[in-house]
Structure formats: C-alpha cells, structure tokens
Symmetry: C3
Subunit: 364 residues, 3 copies
C-alpha cells in the first residue's frame, strides 16, 4: 500500500476553506493530506491554522475556545497563540518551548484561504494561484461560495475535468446539452510545467440547459461555445467560458458575449476523500439574485452528476485492486497531470530523504 | 489472510440472478467471487454479463445505458457489445482490440441465470445443475422467486442445510415443529464426488407449522415426513419433501401425498457475503394465490431465522480468529462438502499455477 | 500493531456487569478484552459467564435458552452446564470432555459482577476490589446503577480521572463550577503498587452546579470541597467527596458535611472500546426519589461531556499514528498508572511465555 508520502506534494499551496465557511467564534476542524487541522479567526481578523491536536494528549483543539487571537483547549485549558506556542497552562508556572503545536501558513486571497502543509520557511504567498475574477467587481458570483465533500481521490476529479467529452453523457440535461459534444475530436492540449491547458469549441449548437435557465437571449439562439481551461497542480482548475452567436470569433465587429469565469479547487482530505471548492461568476444579469440562485442550483445538480459517477469509480477501484486502465486519445491532459504530479513528488522526496516513521501512538 | 483464490473455484456454474430480477432497460450490478459484474438484457432477449468496469477508467457500466444489444458507459460514452468488445468511442476513430471488458458466459435455465466466472472456453452449459421442477408445469411455484442477501460466508449456509437437526431449535414455530425432530439420529449421508445426499424421515408427528397454514388436511392429521436432500458444489441445494399419513411408505396402496420441490442456491458475493436464491414448489392447492403468498411469507420467516443466527456466527468468527470447532456426529455432510470443495480448489490451482498479483491500481 | 496481549492483563478481576443489567431468563452478550462472553443467571440464582460461542461451530450462546442452571445453544441444541461442559447433544449419545466452552469465574459483590479473564485457578475472590459503600445502608445510591459504552481505549478514561483540572474546562456547568479549579496546583500524588491516590481540595468556592441542584443548604453557601481519589489497576476508580462550610477541616467541632461516595469501573471491551460502570452515593436527602433522579441526570450530563472529548481524542489517535505527547506537571498520576500497568503486563507475559497464535478460523 502506498503511504501518504507517495500521494502528496507538501510544499505547495492548497485551497483550505472559503472565508465564508469560518463562523465567528467557532473553530473549524478540517483534514488536509491526512493531517488534522483547525482553522479559526482571531480578534485581529487574521485566520490561523493549527494542528488540531493539543500537544498534551491529542484532544481536538477544534472543540476549544477562541480567546482574543489565541485558542484554548477545553480539556485541561492549555492556551495557544497563532504561532502554535502554548502561552498558558492552568496550574503550572513553567511552559516549555516544546509545549506547542504546528502552525500552518494560511493566507486569504479573494475569500479563499490557502494553506501550506510543507516546510513553513518555503511558503511564499506570491506563489498562491490566485484567481483574479474572485476579487474583480466586473464579475458577479453566486449567492454563496460552494463546497462539496467527495468520497474519492482528488485525481479522479482532476481526470473528470481534464476531458470534457463527459459533458455529453454525464451532463446531458445540465451542463452539456447534446451527445454531439463528445463527437468533436478533442482539441490539442498544451502541456505546462505544472499542468496543462486547452481550448475547446462547440459550434453551432443550442444553448446548453443550464444557460437556458438564465439566458437573456431567445431560447432558440444558436451559439458557439468556447471553453478555455487551465489545470495546475495540486488541483487548481480555472475556466473561461464564452457564448456568442455562431461564428462570433470571426465576426468583424465583436458581438455581445455571455461569459463565465469558473474556479474549482480540489484539495486531498485523505488519499480517498477530497475537499472540492468552486465559484461560478458571470458577466450578465449581474444584479439579479434569483438568477444567481438558479445558476447555483443547476451547477450543484451538474456537480452531483459528477460526484455520483466518480465516487462509484473510487469504490470499484478500492474494492478491486486488479484494474488495468486502457488509454483513450482524450487522455492526454490527465496523463500530463499525473506525470507532472509524480515528478513533483519525486523531487520533493529528494529534499526530505528520510521517510517519517509512523510510531504507534504512545498515548494509547 | 486467505486470498480470494483460497476460497473459490472459478471453473463452475454459479447461480447469478433470477431472470425476474433483471428489469427491462436497467442493468443490474452484482458481485460474484469478489469480482464486479453487470448483467443486462439486450433487445434480442439475450442476457449478458460483463465486467462492471469500463476499461478506460473503471467507471461502473451498471450506470450505463442499454442500446440495442450493447451497453454504453455513461461517463465518456464508450459502447460495448455483448462479447465485451468496445465498438464505439465518441470522438475517436481508432478502437483497439484491447478496448474491451471481460464477458462472462451467462445462461438462462428455467428462469435462473447461471454465470461462469472461470476460463470461458471451459464453460459447458450441459454442466449447469438445472432443477427440472422449475420448468415443469406439474409444480406450482411461489408468486415470486426469492432472493436474500447474507452477511456471511456461503459455506456457513451450506453447513446449515447439511444438518437438519437445527430445524428443531431454529425453526420450532415455522419449518420444524418439535424438538423431537433433533433427537432422531441423523440418517446416513451418501458422499458424492461433488457433494452429498441424504434422506431424513420424521415419523408420526403433527404437520409442521408452515404446513398447517396451507394444508388441505385436518390440522390434527398425524404424518410421516420424508426429506430427500442433495447438495452439490459450489452451493446447490435441492430437496424433495413428502408428507403422507403415518406409515405411508409401507402402505400397499400409495396414498395421496403433499409434496414440495425446493431449490436453494448459495453464490459467494465475497468471502464474507452471499447471494441466496430459492424457490419452493408444491403439488397441491396449485391455483390458489393466497396459498402461494402464505407459503412465501412463512418460508421467508423461516429463512430469516437462519439468517439471524448464521450472520451472528459469521460476526463472531470474523472478530475472533482463535475459534477451534468441535465435531459432532451430525457433521458428516458438512465435512464432506468442505473436503470436496478444497479438493476442487486444489485441482483448479494446478491448472492456474500462477497466482494473480494484486497490483495497486495505477488509476489512483 | 500491538496484539491484544500487549494491551491487557488477564489475571485480575474486571467489572463485568451490574446484576441489575442481567434480565431474568435472558442471557447477556458482552465482550471483555476482545473475548466474547455470555452472562446468565441460573435457576439457583448464581451468575454464570461462558465463552459466547458454541464449541461446535461458534453460534452465539447468548441467543440460547436458559434451562435450569444450564444454557442451551439454539442452533443444534447443545446444552452446557455452568462449568461450560456440554451435557446434552440432541441425537447423539456420546459426549466428549472436549465438548465444552470456557467458563469464566464470575462473582457478585454488592451488585457488581466481577469477571476473571485469565487462568481460572488463580482467581481469588478475596482480591476483588470491592467498594463497601455499595452494600452499606448508610449510603443512598442512584435510582439505577449506571452504564455507558465508550468508543475509546479505557486508559484515556483513566487519564481523564487522573487529572481533575479538566473539571474546570470540561465540566464548568456540571461537576466543576469555575475555571479557578484548574489554577490551583495539583496536590501531591501518592504512588501505589497497583495505582495511585491523591487528595484534592478546592477551597472557599460556591457549591458546584450539580450540587446546587440538590443541596439542602442555601445556594450562596461558600464551601470547601475535598476529593479523595484512589485509582487501581485494571480500571477501578473510587472517590470520597466532602463538602462543608469553608474552613471545616480545621473547625474544633466537626460540622455537618454533604458527602458522596463514587465508584467508576473501566473495563476494556476491545483495545478501542470500553465498558464504563458507575454509582454515586450520598449521605443526605436519602429518601427522596426526585433528588436521586436529578443527581443521576446531572451526572450523566457531566459524563457525556467527558465522553465527547475522549472519543474525539481516540479518533484522532487512531487516525493519526504520529502523535507525540508532551508532558504536563499534572501527568504524575496517569504516568504512574501506565507504568504499573505495563509492568503488570510484562510480569504476566513471563508466566505465559508462549504467545497464542491467531489461527485463521478453520470453520470458514
């Protein structure tokens, strides 16, 4: 069996939570890369991520109490500051520098909290894969930023997003629209040092079902659809979507377009489960709440269609270890992602040559 | 721990499903011998059993769509014919002979679909252990053919059926009737090359509770009950049951008898779970639907009595690996079944000398 | 992974069940030290503990029928006497001395049944850690003796009881009362050959919430609280609690005190789950049923506060094997308990030098 070290790159930024998920005064317990973390917001407004285990006996800090910028364990009362150092032990005068928990670098970018699970000294916020539309008032988001929990390895979700031909079969009545979508040969995939990108056109088709629900155009408008997809490690999916009257990209006068900007972040919770975050922004009917609500509902419907089949796939793969995949022409993108990912793991293992031994817990 | 290969014989026919379980247009996912299978019925009326994993990335074909005699995976649209060969890949012209899934021989005999999990070239339908009464209009079956899922190894169910003394204690109020049933020494068991058979008489007793509910005779009739039992590998139980006025077998003139014909099929789903199929046919009150319904209910009641104790037994055996059984005189039949079974496994392993390595899945 | 032998001492008395838990005519299935046991009461009034697995094929004897002082397996009817010897096999004349199950020494002391899981010949009832107040009419108990099941290793509950500073944080609104409770340095712990004891005073404080609910005194009475705690292996916690007007221990005339006597017994079910028994006796308002009911409720509330945090701790420790605890000054008691416990295991392993091999079950 692979260990966690065979699965994960540690020295990179992972999407951890939308800031809107962090309730005031309430720490959030969440696991990343099989490590338990607690996230809270101190009185100074900063977000903090600590090991979710009191250094004393592994009581969950997420059951603790926020006091100023600190978090107090509610078992025996140890209080930790944002650096993870214990600053108070009730009934005990001396506190050692070892009375501490790990503090993970955590940075807010446009409402997404990014966490760094590796060596803290290497964490550079400039490398956060920020998605500008999240902060650009030109774009109108959903009424609430979205989260789904997957019982599947995050790479199966990457696979899903790496091959749009599934829209034809999985999302016929939501995000796709017609099985013709799959019949068009996949456009070329550009391999990147940390992922891939591709452009996909679907021409001279009706507006897909999800767009029909909110389109300002007449329902029989024939459109060309352009998707421009970027996927970066560890699990950053960004997509520009444009709908225009068929032939719009060769029109002398640029026509009005219906556009979307979409980010989807996949962060491994464990090797078999994933945190999935997403936002879907638009450039039309921006002030209308019911349009946002309709869009949110149909997107959830579509993403549940993925979830059902991906979780079934995970279950079969877990239960039956003998599966040998057969490649398709459309696998270029997913194969590129895996190649980059395993290279990054191998490179990181050179930096950490000593595997961490799992010591059977001395508390039990 | 034993591997699947230590548990199962592959080159034999297993009961897979009643044809009445296969709904029109709806593939059925079912696991046999720890392998995932999908069963569907094509437009030509033939039943097909394929590996329930698209050869591309292990998406479940049971979530697919039946098209003519083919099955289309509803992830990326690959279409498979009944032989398991992929015949269409949307957006891709070239299809390789490796784009295929395993197709399991599957044969309908009297409403039972028999599956062959081993080497397809050895599958000979003439060796299917068909039970003739299933197709003989002389016999009247239950309103619906029956299925139960067991959280227990199928050999514990074989054990149960190999020793009828349990009727006295487990089924006092349903299939048995009196604890005297157990006191009669077990009749001799005939050992067969692929199982065993025995005859068991219970003389000068009242009609058992299940018969009381449907008997055309007066309720205080004293009867002799004859059971003639055959058990064959892999898990085929056939029983003729006859009730007549006490002493009927030595009467000069054969009296009217109340007779049943019963088949019970146990097919391993995994080493710890079992598919259990059964039918119970009678030669009296044949046109009466309510009699059939009453019989079905009381049989289910009786079989649930078995299920409760057998699943408890399984749980104890799983949780506590130190159990050492003590033999009873009545163990002859079950010991014979195990002996034959392990001989068959050993013989089959000589044919397949190379154990299949379980390769950690390259998809994940 | 540790085996059961690394966790448990076998040659000692464990709390098994309150006699009030044993219903007339109904055997009780319960697991101790990962071994399945059935407890029942025979017609002669004696309590019996047998292996909960019929020696034939591991059917659960707890699904059996009590007949006189014997227990009959309701699968094939084998009947066992209180020594575990099979005394009847329906349909079989000869019974071997091997047709038997293990009978565990089981002794009633004041309503608690104590079981001996080790070598029966070493079981000496004089060594049962009996708690006298359970039988002393001076003390008034709760309306019903109490049981909780924990999804946690029993030593985590021992830890909890070994450090009373947690009352300040876990039980602020039930058993504690103020966070000042934790600020007082822990009193010295006396190390015992088989555990530890300590005295803890909390002076000049209000009556804690649980006492407020039933106190005969005015609610603003300022009290000194004395707890005298003893903890013995394998998991015996005994506590005397005294409340008196502040300064009561140095008054020339002994004042009236509100007193409690409390026992808590932790018995490992498995290495990850625990049986937790307790009684809470008082010396005031003794005849009043509603006082007993109120006390029972608030104690359950307090014990659930422990259960929530301890089970969360267990879950984190199980899921993340890398935890390294940091000691606190208040760990003296729990460290002493672990030291004694592991010494006792090591000493016992010298007596049983041969580890029991777990043989894969020949029934399956």
């Amino acid at each position: 069996m692979r260990t966690a070290d065979d699965w994960f790159v540690y020295n990179c930024w992972y999407a951890a939570a939308w800031t809107s998920e962090i309730e005031e005064g309430k720490p959030l317990a969440r696991t990343y890369l099989e490590k338990p973390v607690v996230i809270y917001r101190g009185d100074d407004g900063r977000y903090v991520a600590l090991d979710n285990r009191c250094c004393h006996r592994s009581a969950p800090l997420a059951m603790g109490r926020i006091e100023g910028n600190c978090l107090r364990c509610m078992y025996h009362g140890m209080k930790y500051d944002p650096s993870g150092q214990c600053v108070e032990i009730p009934g005990q005068a001396r506190i050692s520098p070892n009375h501490r928990v790990h503090s993970y670098p955590l940075v807010d970018r446009g409402g997404m909290l990014w966490i760094w699970m590796g060596q803290p000294e290497k964490a550079d916020p400039d490398h956060i894969p920020h998605f500008e539309p999240l902060e650009d008032p030109y774009w109108c988001g959903l009424p609430k930023r979205c989260y789904l929990h997957y019982d599947a390895n995050w790479m199966l979700i990457v696979d899903n997003l790496a091959d749009f031909s599934h829209l034809a079969f999985v999302h016929t009545n939501t995000l796709g629209g017609s099985e013709d979508y799959a019949k068009e040969s996949a456009q070329a995939v550009d391999k990147l040092a940390n992922g891939f990108e591709f452009e996909r056109w679907h021409r001279a088709s009706g507006q897909p079902p999800y767009l029909q629900k909110i389109t300002p155009w007449s329902e029989d408008t024939v459109v060309d659809r352009r998707n421009f997809v970027r996927m970066y490690t560890p699990g950053i999916f960004l997509m520009d979507t444009q709908f225009g009257p068929t032939g719009w990209d060769s029109m002398p006068e640029p026509p009005e377009l219906l556009e979307f900007r979409n980010c989807q972040y996949m962060t491994p919770e464990t090797r078999g489960t994933t945190h999935f975050f997403w936002e879907y922004l638009r450039n039309f009917r921006k002030g209308e709440d019911d349009v946002g609500e309709t869009l949110r509902e149909v997107m959830f419907e579509g993403f549940f269609e993925d979830k059902v089949i991906i979780e079934a796939q995970q279950k079969l793969l877990e239960q039956h270890g003998d599966f040998q995949p057969r490649g398709l022409a459309s696998d270029t993108a997913l194969a590129q992602f895996r190649r980059v990912w395993f290279e990054q793991i191998a490179a990181e293992r050179e930096t950490f040559p000593e595997p961490v031994d799992i010591i059977k817990n001395p508390v039990l």
